[in-house]
Each structure stands twice: as C-alpha cells, then as structure tokens.
Amino acid sequence: MNSPIHRARAARTTPSPATSPTAPTSSPAPHRADGPSLSRRRLLQGSAVLAAGTTAAGALSACGGTSAPAGATQIDYWLWDANQLPAYSAAIDLFMEKNPDVFVRVTQLGWHDYWTKLTASFVAEAGPDAFADHLARYPEFLKLGVIAPLDGLGPLDDIPATQFQDGLQELWTGQDGKRYGMPKDYDTIAVMYDRTMLEKEGLTPEDLEDLDWNPEDGGSFEKMLARLTLDANGVRGDEDGFDPKNVARYGMAAPGIDYTGQTSWSPFAYSTGWTFTDADTWGTHFNYDDERFAATMDWYFGLVDKGLFPPFGVFGDSSPTQTQVQTGKAALSLAGSWMITTFNNMEGMELGIAPLPSGPVGTPMSMFNGLGDSISSQSDNKEEAARLIAFLASDDAQQVIGERAPFFPSTDVGTEAAIEAFAEEGLDVTPFTDRVANGETGLYPLVENSAAIMQTMQAAFDQCWMRQLDGADFASYNDRVNALFE
C-alpha cells in the first residue's frame, strides 16, 4: 500500500478522515438539502464538494480574500496540514492587522500535491514567498538552491535559537551554519489507547505508565502487549492455548513503517542508545548495521510471529492506527503528537495517552521532529516574507496558535498554551511534552539523499515485516545507503 515516497511521510501528515474509505460519510450530500427544486448547477457544486471531500484534504484556498488591497505587497504562504490551517490563519490575520502594508495569501494543499506543486512552481519560478517545510525535503531544496538563508533577513536576525525548544533550530541549520527554516512546531511520540478498552481489561492507566523494554525479551512492555492481545477464541496473548495465527485484537497497532521509523521502531531503537548516523544532524554514515539496531528489528518485527503485532498488509491505508484502535483491532498505538486531535475525535473512543516504555538507556526515548517555515530564494519580497515568519515565531503569534493548536508550537509560550488547550479538553499531553522537557529525545535524521535512502531502505523494512529478512540483513542495505554519501 504504502510506497516509499507516500508512506514515508504519511505519518507526519495527519491523514484527514476524508482520505480513508471508512469516512466517506464526512462528505456532505448537499443535493439532499435542496429538495426537489434542485438545479443542475447545485448538483454540480454538490458533486464537486463530494469529489473534493473524497480526494483527500483537497486544495482549499483559505484565509480572507484572494487579492491584495491597493498599496499592499502581496506575499504567498503555503502549508499542507489542514489541521494547522485554522491556527495559522488566525495568526496571519493578526499579522495583517499589524502590518497593513502586507497582504498574505494562504494556500493549503494536501501532502502529496504540496510537494509536487512546490517543485513545479520552483521550476516555473512562481513559487510561494514563504512555505511550511519538512526535514525530509529541505536538504534537497537546499542543494537545488531554491530556499534562501534566513540570516540577514531583517527581523529574523533578532530571533535567537533559545526562543525555541532545544534542538529545533539545530534541525533547521544547514551545513554552512546558516538557518534555512524558522521552527514552527515540534512533535514527539507517545502511546495512545482507548480507556474504555483498558477498563474492560481490568487495568488502569497507571498500569501503562512505568513500563520498561529491552530488545531481548521485550520487558514489561511486551508482557503488557501480550496481556492486551486476544485471539479469535478470546484467549489472551499471555495465556496458554493462545493462537498467534488467528488474532482478533493485536497488542500494538500497525503504522506505516519507513526508514525513519518515526512512530514505529525508532523509540525502541533510540532507547538502546542507537543513533541513525554519525552526527546529530547532517550525518554521512548510517548505522543500520549496528547490533543494537538489528536486535531492535528482530524484536519489533518478531512480534508478528508472536501474534502481538499485525503481519504485513493486514491493515492497509484504509485502516490507519487510529482506526485500528477505534475498531478494537489493536490495543495500543505508538502515535505522534500531531495525531492527538485525530485520535481524540474518533467516535466511540475515549482517548488515553501513556508515555513510551523506558529502554536499556534507562529512560523512554522519542523521536523529535519539527516543521519549519522557509523562504524561497526566488521571492521578490523576502523582506515581507521574513517579517511574516518572524511574527509567526513571536510570543503573540505563538499564543494565538497554541490556543487553537492541535499540535505543539515551537516556543515555550506556544507549548504552554497548547498544553492548556488540551487540558481543557480533558487530555493530559505531558507524555509528549515530558520527553522534550527531560531531554529524552533523538532528532529526526536530517541528511542528504533522503529520497534515495527512503527508496533503498523501504524494501528492507517491508521484507523484515514480511519475515523474510533478519535484523542482521540490514547491513547490506546500510552499505548501499552509505554509498550514496561517497
């Protein structure tokens, strides 16, 4: 189902409910409302809405009017995450209020279209002035010379790296030491589950709090997975007579898995002390041949043989982790903080959030990733664009964003506002934020050649999941990846 390219970032894109076949109901049936006097035009509009609804998050232009008032400079700002649109629209409205000489046109595109259109628009020299950027993509843009260094761009020089959570600005700093993105948010990983399910099992949220894990026997985390697994006859995974070939509820949900393992294997691998590359950022030598990595792979995908984790292909794109948990086909799901709202909105499910298990290093470890705002080197209005993204990083904007955010903004003020906003909904999101506060994170691999690495490693991860490869077999793929850097 998932190709390297698509799958890779499917994790980070907050699949809109409309993209999954389970949710075609989210598309309205507008022609019904019009009754018999339905005009042809109405019908066409109706079907257009339906079509837009089903073909993913869609390409909606939002935020205010579409043309600049006289005398104002118009700049274009693009982002892909529909969940972030309301928060950023509000902040940008505030920006335009304070800067009447600038008019910002916001465009939101679905994840897949976003990068295709961005590339095409760079070739045509008609790209946005500022846009939301991703770590897996910006090294490529940097190499192509289409994003401008932020240093020396007016107000951006006054923003110190310390304004953001530790490490975020580092992720957006190129090999030349210049900044190529303003951190706009961050994300970490935790465990999500349905509290009702846990209650029925006679367990409490506290039971999930202090689990430990190791690659040899999986520790108390694996015991918990077994405890929560049920076969078709209702036998639990930790009981005699459990049939691992005929599982009704898996202990852990199956996410899309790629070379970063963001919401799958990376927390486990990180908690053995393993690192992706030889450096925090811009590493040039990968460690997929490390023993700790191999042991993690053998444990993680070995769960398939034990019946605790779904075999390859059981859940396709139509059944993402939130659906697996919602329908009771999986008990626990490792999930990114950008999915909190999506999980919370799943019907018939009471969301519980637990921290990751602590590994051999003694603490839990989460991958730490963040989006940034970049400025196009082709832009004629870099100054205005810089003012915009500097504003988005300011306390004023971060407060506005944090209050509306279904995610964690990059500064302390924004994060605090978001934690409060989640608390008002009855959600304790500290399992996500604690990782950052305690420094228990590993950075998203910021490297060159990410597309080629993705393509090479995908086959290895797929085959390991299909139980055709062992953890030790990753070494030969690692050689191919490292050859890219020679």
Binding site: S3, R7, V146, G313, G316, A459, M466
Partner: protein, 303 residues
C-alpha cells in the same frame, strides 16, 4: 484552388512550385505538432539521459554514466521483471477475454445496447477504477474480502502481498480495457464475409471449428495490430500502481514507469530517469518490430 488550376494550365512549371508551397502549408500544423510535442521531447529526453539534471540547475554532460549505472542497478532489473510479468498476465488474460466477448457479440446478439454495455468499464478513468478496486479488495474493509470470509475463505491481502499484487493490478486493468479491446476485435470480425460461415455450416462445421478455421486466421492482421497496441499500452502501466501500491510491498509492484517517476519526481534525478525512459523506448521498439515481423501484421489472408 480552382484559380491555381486554371493558371497552371498555361504555365506548367509554376504549377509544381505552387503545389509544394500549398502542400507545405497543409502539412504544417501536423508537422509543427509532431516536432514540438514528439520529436523535440524525444531529442531532449535523449540528451538529458547523457546528463546529470535536476531541473533547477542546468544539465551537466556526464556521457554514458547513467547507462552504466542502469546496467548495474538491481532495482532496474527487478522493475523490468515485474513489468514483464504484469504485461504477460495483463495481455494474456485480456486478449483471450476480449476475443471471447467479441465473438459472442458477433455470433449471439445484434443488440446495440448490449454491444455498447461491454464498453462501459472503458468509460471509467483509470484512477477511478483503481481507487474503486483499492476499496473493494481492501484486506479489512473490502467487500470482496468480506464475501470471501462469508463463503469460508481467509481474507486475501490483494494489494499488499508480493504474490498477489501484480496479478491484482493486471486483472483490474483487464477489467477496464477488455471492452475496448473487444470492440476493436469486433470491428475486425465484421470484415470477415458471412458467406464463409454459411459455406462452413453447409459443410457441417461446428462453432468451434468455424472459430479455429475461419475466424482466427482471418482475424490475424487485426489481432496482431491490437496486440501491438495493447502491449505498448501495457508496458506503460503507471496510474493504477501510483494510486494503489506505489510500488510496494518491497518493490513487488515497482514497474518501470513507477521507478522512472520516483527517480525524476522524488529524487530529482531527471538525467537517470531519462536514461531509464530511453531503455523503455528501446525495449518497446524491439518488441513492436519483432511482433510486426512475426505476425505478418501487414498482410491479410482475405485476398
């Protein structure tokens, strides 16, 4: 025109000159189209295959490096194997089914409605057909898998099993294209004179003998052309895979076009992608010429 003809009568030398100009004028639109949309892209594609090119920076000449890399690239050879497997299943099943439909249309019914109905899957766009089947054959929610469980089988991971994915894609495309292929063959059948069948019946030949001795031999030129067209189309499979599996699982459905697309639009390696495209072009040319020659598509037994 008419004035030109009158004036040429008195001056035959000038007539030829005028005709050339006029002829050039007439073929100009087609020529321009051909040059701009076919010859030029072909030539630039050939050129790019000898360069390193990222679209945003100017291409750099690197000679045969892309082709050396292609020969040594295991993913290229794997994707070639996958593509050939796809074409074999797709064309094999499609041709048999389409021939059957065409013969049934000719021998059993005169109804225009019934004949048009056969074409309906072709009216659905490839992407829509692929997405629809993606849902129908989904492991968890697909209605076909629910049906399988209902009659006592285990659900099949049509899209995410290495064994099933290529047959699945091939059969989805058979579903979409069989009606169109059948229609082409049907047109060929119409050109076979009915008196041949009447004569055969008088001699006591059954339907099967008639099919083997009359229909197949006389349909050969059309069948050969249809095969050439469908095989070329089949080699170009991309959309179905792009919207369903994107080449997975573990490259099991990474057909050549998908690999070309990935190189060009995910990795910005337009040079290498061009080299892969040239390889596909060469393969298609060889296959087409061989086929043309083997099936004597240019001759008919009807004369």
């Amino acid at each position: 025109m008419s004035t030109a003809t009158t004036s040429t009568r008195s001056a035959p030398r000038r007539r030829r000159k005028d005709d050339t100009k006029l002829a050039l004028l007439f073929i100009a639109p087609a020529t321009v189209g051909l040059l701009v949309f076919l010859v030029w892209p072909l030539l630039t594609g050939l050129y790019y295959s000898f360069t390193e090119y990222t679209t945003l920076t100017p291409p750099q000449w690197i000679g045969l490096e892309n082709y050396q890399r292609l020969i040594a690239d295991p993913i290229f050879w794997k994707s070639l194997k996958v593509t050939v497997l796809y074409v074999l299943i797709n064309i094999g099943v499609q041709t048999v089914v389409a021939l059957l439909i065409a013969v049934l249309m000719q021998r059993l019914t005169q109804s225009t409605i019934l004949r048009s109905l056969v074409l309906t899957p072709y009216l659905v766009s490839n992407v829509v057909a692929a997405i629809t089947f993606l849902w129908i054959l989904d492991t968890q929610l697909g209605i076909f898998n629910i049906f399988l469980t209902w009659i006592g089988f285990d659900p099949v991971s049509f899209w995410s099993s290495e064994t099933w994915v290529i047959p699945t894609v091939a059969l989805v495309n058979v579903w979409r294209h069989m009606g169109y292929t059948a229609l082409l063959l049907f047109a060929g059948l119409q050109s076979i004179p009915t008196h041949l069948y009447e004569a055969a019946r008088t001699e006591g030949a059954g339907e099967i003998t008639q099919f083997r001795r009359i229909t197949l031999p006389l349909l050969r030129p059309i069948l050969a052309l249809v095969l050439i067209m469908t095989i070329i189309g089949s080699f170009q499979v991309f959309d179905t895979i792009s919207v369903t599996t994107q080449g997975g699982p573990a490259d099991a459905s990474k057909v050549l076009q998908m690999y070309i697309y990935e190189n060009a639009f995910a990795q910005y390696e337009f040079g290498y992608a061009s080299a892969l495209s040239v390889a596909l072009l060469v393969i298609l040319m060889v296959i087409t010429f061989t086929q043309y020659w083997l099936t004597k598509a240019g001759q008919s037994d009807l004369d």
